[in-house]
């Protein structure tokens, strides 16, 4: 490409200092810069910046949507917790009521049983008292008989009335 053209440039050791080529380079440089500038400012840069803006917008939207969903999930969790707490309270109430009912029944049954027991106890006591009285009477009879026999054995003839009085007095004392 560059072999045969030793025209204006031959004399100069450094082509950079060959001022004859300066107008050419400067002209084409300016053309190039203007072309690049217009391509960039009219087409490329607005397009890329709009794509970037759109992308960041999409990301923002996605993030806010995610945030919304998170809030919804939180609400759902709260509702669930609330329902759970209510159910627990209800269960507590029901079990309390049941307890109270059972307690009432129990109380009634207990009272009844107590009453029955009291009646039975009274009956038993009466029976015991009777038995004791009977026993005391028996003792009196045995004592009278024994005393009579003893008196008879000593050769006396016991007057029944005196004997009974004596024994009664003895038993009382």
């Amino acid at each position: 490409m560059a072999t045969e053209t030793h025209g204006a440039t031959e004399a100069v050791a450094m082509p950079q200092l060959d001022f004859a080529t300066f107008p050419n380079q400067i002209f084409w440089l300016l053309v190039t810069l203007v072309v690049i500038y217009f391509v960039l400012s009219k087409i490329a840069l607005p397009r890329i910046s709009s794509v970037l803006a759109e992308r960041s917008g999409t990301i923002m939207n996605d993030i806010s949507a995610a945030e919304e969903l998170k809030l919804k999930a939180q609400d759902a969790e709260n509702a669930y917790n609330k329902a759970l707490a209510e159910a627990k309270a209800e269960a507590q109430r029901i079990s309390g009521e049941a307890n109270a009912a059972i307690q009432a029944d129990l109380d009634v049954a207990l009272a009844k049983a107590d009453a029955e027991i009291a009646v039975k106890a009274a009956e038993s006591e009466a029976m015991i008292a009777e038995i004791r009285d009977n026993a005391a009477d028996s003792v009196k009879v045995v004592a009278k008989d024994t005393a009579k026999e003893l008196v008879a054995a000593f050769g006396g003839k016991a007057d029944a009335k005196t004997l009974t009085a004596a024994i009664n007095a003895r038993l009382k004392g």
């Binding site: 025209g7 080529t21 053309v31």
Partner: protein
């Protein structure tokens, strides 16, 4: 490119600078200002590269980007963030301008690494114009935005009063040296790398040295790939710094 016509006088002919020649693309003759040259061709290819990366790459406009679109967005985000971080929020208005500079330089540099190619950014005429455009733009912008307050850039308020005039002179000189360093840094870096590769390539003609030479070319090529990108980055970030100075001149 640059096959030597003087190959007869010795076995080794060094013409590392031939690759930088500006030659007409069609036919011989003088290089007029309108002549279509190799510089025109490679600048045009840079435009094509920009279009391929940023226009064709982003044509999907999808929310989940394709590979090409990712690359386009990456380039966009890289330059945009650089401008925003260095130049501040209000400098993003000049984003298309900064992006144009970055794209042109990056594509010229990287396309210039193709064998037999021509690199427009190795020429001081090109980088000088780029730097001067930045310099004039920034200076005009500074005065338009801040009026006479733009001169506070040279009046270092944090220094003692006695030192301020001295510093003002230094600041003024450094301000006017900006376009020089801005342009020569880019052209110098690009030119040096290409010239060094060419010298190594010439050595490859000797059988004994050829393996070393080829290994050196490979290594240099990797380095140059890095330099091509870094120089585009440096040029752009300095533009951002100058823009910041123009928008907020007080220290």
């Amino acid at each position: 490119m640059a096959t030597e016509a003087h190959g007869t006088e010795s076995s080794l002919a060094f013409h590392p600078m031939d690759q930088f020649r500006i030659t007409p693309l069609f036919g011989d003759g003088d290089v007029h200002w309108y002549t279509v040259t190799n510089a025109t061709l490679w600048m045009g290819l840079a435009v094509l590269g920009v279009v391929l990366l940023l226009v064709v790459g982003s044509r999907g406009r999808s929310i989940v980007p394709s590979k090409g679109q990712s690359l386009a967005e990456l380039t966009y985000g890289f330059v945009y963030k650089m401008l925003e971080d260095v130049g501040g929020k209000d400098s993003v208005r000049y984003f298309p301008y900064v992006m144009t500079l970055f794209c042109f330089i990056a594509f010229s540099n990287i396309l210039g690494l193709l064998p037999l190619s021509f690199t427009p950014t190795t020429h001081i005429a090109v980088t000088g114009v780029l730097a001067l455009l930045v310099f004039v733009f920034v200076t005009v912008l500074g005065f338009v935005k801040n009026g006479a307050k733009f001169l506070e850039l040279f009046w270092v308020k944090s220094a003692p009063l006695a030192l301020r005039p001295v510093l003002a002179v230094i600041e003024l000189i450094s301000y006017f040296v900006r376009p020089v360093s801005h342009s020569i840094r880019l052209a110098g870096n690009m030119m040096a790398g290409h010239a060094v590769i060419k010298v190594f390539a010439t050595f490859a003609a000797i059988k004994l040295i050829a393996p070393v030479s080829i290994a050196a070319i490979t290594a240099m090529y990797g380095l140059e790939l890095l330099v091509a990108f870094i120089q585009a980055y440096v040029f752009t970030i300095l533009t951002c710094v100058y823009l910041k100075d123009a928008l907020h001149p007080s220290h």
